[in-house]
Symmetry: C2
Subunit: 332 residues, 2 copies
């Protein structure tokens, strides 16, 4: 006799898209995952209204598909750009959204009548890969998500580690070159200043400055301002020498940061996510070689470095897993 | 009516000295702490014999001073140079001692008849400062011990964090300059290559190469090969400009590493130990300024950066605290 299934809704609020979906509490499947543009410029109220509408739509689909009732929904987990005050459920500041001190948890909770938890989006992405993705079953995990910037999350002994003031996991802002490139954070030589999507496109532009042909040059129509990190990954898989060089350098920078993390935290899995995983072996080959050069052998031998498996769903899955962890609800 | 006190013996095995002492299980005081030269060149058997003799001497003193009996001794905690296999109680390799795959825990346990635990010396030093020193009562702690090399330890939620294969905490081998100075580990740009005692003396030699006078120059009698890190700290407190510069640079390098650790681990305390704390405010002032430049404000605001309080006793105190943690014995 099986127990009646219970469901949790997850929300991943990004600067570009909102992704919402549901899972049974045991994480056994993804139901009704869907994405809509955030339209942050319309202001916080309209963004929250859209989130609530998406949550209600997902609940309706789950009920229709499974025969569940509203009482079978345990709550809502939300991942949002940080920094956050988890205790208060507030987004302290989110530059991409234009939000400051916004009581997101309370707004979702009062509109849906469902218990709601809040966590950092990069933490959620890491927790998602641990819950049902590439780091399933691992004990100590470091997640590195490469997009516009570099986000990170740390799992210690199977639990998300938040640090002493909810800031832990800012892996993009490790110094890898103390007198190096200026970073958006104001500091010099952060990993993010070398290996974020933004930095990868920038380095490709620098490398192409004296070129007049090649795959990457043609992809941007000769207009270097049009180069994106995605173009670089694509051109690298097409063996464009400039793109291959940029990806190889990216791997070296990431290897310096991830190697340091292996020496400090000795994880069993590092999950790399974001568009960069599209570069495939052109990235992972030299990355693993660099980590092996930089970290102690027992740390390297204990650790798998793998691409994320959940893609754009990782944040939602992690928000659901975060709801379980924060509320103490465990799967049957 | 007070319960009868129980005692734990701690041992800190270093390449230069062996320190042994005892504490009541609640850590309320240090009893019979004493130090002897290791004489590692005499071979492992004689070193272990000396350790056992020192343990027995300490037990005798505690019994004489407190009226305890041998049955009141819960066991022995040992800190030793790593890497170690804690599960097997083996020193895997200790270059300073010339040991390989040495069953240290079993040797101490069978000779004393007391339950024995083993942990890494840098972990013990950090745990000691957490148990009764500068990080008392803290939740998340990073210990940085600067000697010949740079050792480290990490406490997460009040417990020593060992990582997935007992390597965690190798803070000296974070890359702070990915194309920088060669490190003893074979890598380039490790924190240890810039800020260990060895590196500090080396940088002072480089800075003095074109000098013919000054406090530091006179301290070494004009023979630059005689310069030690201790001389540099001393000369800096005497306002020697070359030494002050070397200490300020050291603070910048340490600040890059510690700043990265604040962004990644967001601790509430960083404890700095070793001879370097003798440089006092000449070090801590610019170090804190550099960390504030490099780390996010909520991480900086949450964290005290302090000198260790236990000096040469930290390792013994931490070995005792480690015995409690590994055996599950908690103080009354």
């Amino acid at each position: 006799m099986s127990q009646r299934a219970r469901y949790i809704v997850g929300v991943d609020l990004g600067g570009t898209n909102i992704v919402v979906g549901a899972m049974p509490e045991d994480g056994s499947r993804e139901i009704a995952f869907r994405s809509q543009p955030t339209h942050a410029a319309q202001g916080a109220d309209l963004v929250v209204e859209r989130m609530i509408q998406m949550i209600e739509d997902v609940i309706t689909v789950v009920i229709a598909e499974t025969g569940a009732t509203r009482a079978d929904f345990l709550g809502v987990g939300v991942g949002a750009p940080g920094p956050l005050d988890r205790a208060l459920g507030m987004v302290i500041t989110a530059p991409n959204l234009g939000w400051k001190m916004f009581p997101l948890r309370e707004r979702i909770q009062s509109a849906t009548g469902l218990q709601t938890t809040l966590d950092n989006d990069a933490n959620c992405a890491t927790l998602g890969e641990w819950f049902t993705g590439a780091a399933r079953g691992a004990k100590n995990v470091i997640g590195v998500t490469i997009g516009t910037g570099i986000g990170g999350g740390i799992i210690i002994d199977g639990k998300l580690f938040h640090g002493s003031s909810d800031v832990a996991g800012e892996i993009g802002h490790m110094t890898i070159d103390s007198t190096g490139r200026r970073c958006g954070c104001g500091n010099y030589g952060c990993l993010e200043a070398y290996a974020s999507g933004t930095a990868i496109a920038e380095r490709a532009r620098e490398a192409l400055a004296s070129e007049v042909d090649g795959v990457l040059f043609r992809m941007c129509g000769g207009d270097l301002t049009k180069i994106t990190a995605q173009m670089v990954y694509k051109a690298a898989t097409d063996a464009d020498p400039v793109a291959v060089d940029v990806v190889r350098e990216t791997a070296r920078f990431l290897g310096a940061g991830i190697g340091a993390l292996l020496n400090v935290l000795n994880p069993d899995v590092v999950v790399l996510a974001g568009g960069v995983v599209n570069a495939g072996e052109a990235l992972f080959g030299p990355l693993k070689a660099e980590v092996r050069r930089r970290a102690f052998a027992p740390a390297v031998d204990a650790c798998r470095i793998v691409p994320g498996e959940l893609g754009g769903s990782a944040g939602v899955v992690g928000a659901i897993a975060g709801f379980k962890a924060q509320t103490g609800i465990t799967s049957a």
